[in-house]
């Protein structure tokens, strides 16, 4: 199991249950996220609090998710970013584009 999903009032929260989100598991996670995107349309929060390593392949899945949601006028938020994933978002300047929430628990039901 690489992701778990909770449906809140207006948002769907997808928690990545992996320490590394990289080229080795990106296809599996991409397929699972795409399945969630195909079901009822809602804003998405991706909880990355368990992810200590993110590479450009994992990042490409987040970008693809952002693009799909934007096309439907829906939002993507990221929460629980640890040091290395946050640094990668800074160097790629994606932190300017994505909405980042420090504390995943602040997302209201």
């Amino acid at each position: 199991m690489s992701i778990s999903t909770i449906t809140l009032k207006k948002t769907k929260k997808i928690t990545l249950l992996v320490q590394k989100f990289d080229v080795s598991n990106m296809q599996e996670i991409k397929q699972k996220i795409n399945k969630e995107l195909k079901s009822k349309s809602s804003d998405i929060v991706i909880d990355l609090s368990l992810v200590s390593f993110l590479d450009s392949s994992g990042l490409s899945v987040i970008i693809a998710t952002f693009k799909q949601l934007s096309a439907k006028n829906k939002k993507l938020q990221l929460c629980g970013l640890r040091e290395q994933p946050l640094e990668l978002l800074k160097i790629t300047q994606l932190y300017k584009i994505f909405t980042i929430i420090d504390n995943c628990n602040s997302i209201k039901e």
Partner: protein, 129 residues
């Protein structure tokens, strides 16, 4: 201190590389943030070697050599492919298209290492301690 690992051209083998390199860096007491950068960039280049250099042909391998010196850490990553002709310049790497889904690994290596050198099918990464 010089160390070497050879991995099969399969992305599932990257975790072996990651754990090996993480242990080396820890033993050498390399600062945490620098270690994270080295682990990321080494994986990005090794991924390119597996996917594009060796085209995931599993009997081809990728060789990674690590030299940890007093001032620098040098990492050589060599595959059995045809090699690439040029590396992006810093200026080109800085012009990252934010929402491009691929082609980011080499640009990140240019941006996040202190120096990068190309020798056909071998890339040398240099990080200052």
């Amino acid at each position: 201190m010089r160390n070497k690992i050879v991995i099969q051209s399969n992305v599932n083998k990257l975790n072996t590389l990651y754990q090996w390199l993480e242990t080396l860096l820890k033993e050498a007491k390399v600062e945490e943030k620098l270690s994270q950068t080295i682990l990321l960039i080494t994986q990005e280049i090794a991924t390119n070697s597996i996917l594009h250099g060796n085209q995931e042909i599993t009997n081809k391998s990728v060789t990674i050599e690590v030299y940890i010196g007093l001032a620098d850490i040098i990492i050589d990553i060599e595959d059995e492919g045809k090699g690439i002709k040029t590396l992006p310049t810093k200026e080109e790497a800085n012009q990252l298209n934010y929402l491009e889904e691929g082609g980011r690994g080499l640009k990140l290596a240019v941006l996040m290492s202190n120096a990068i050198e190309l020798y056909g099918n071998k890339i040398r990464l240099i990080f200052n301690k």
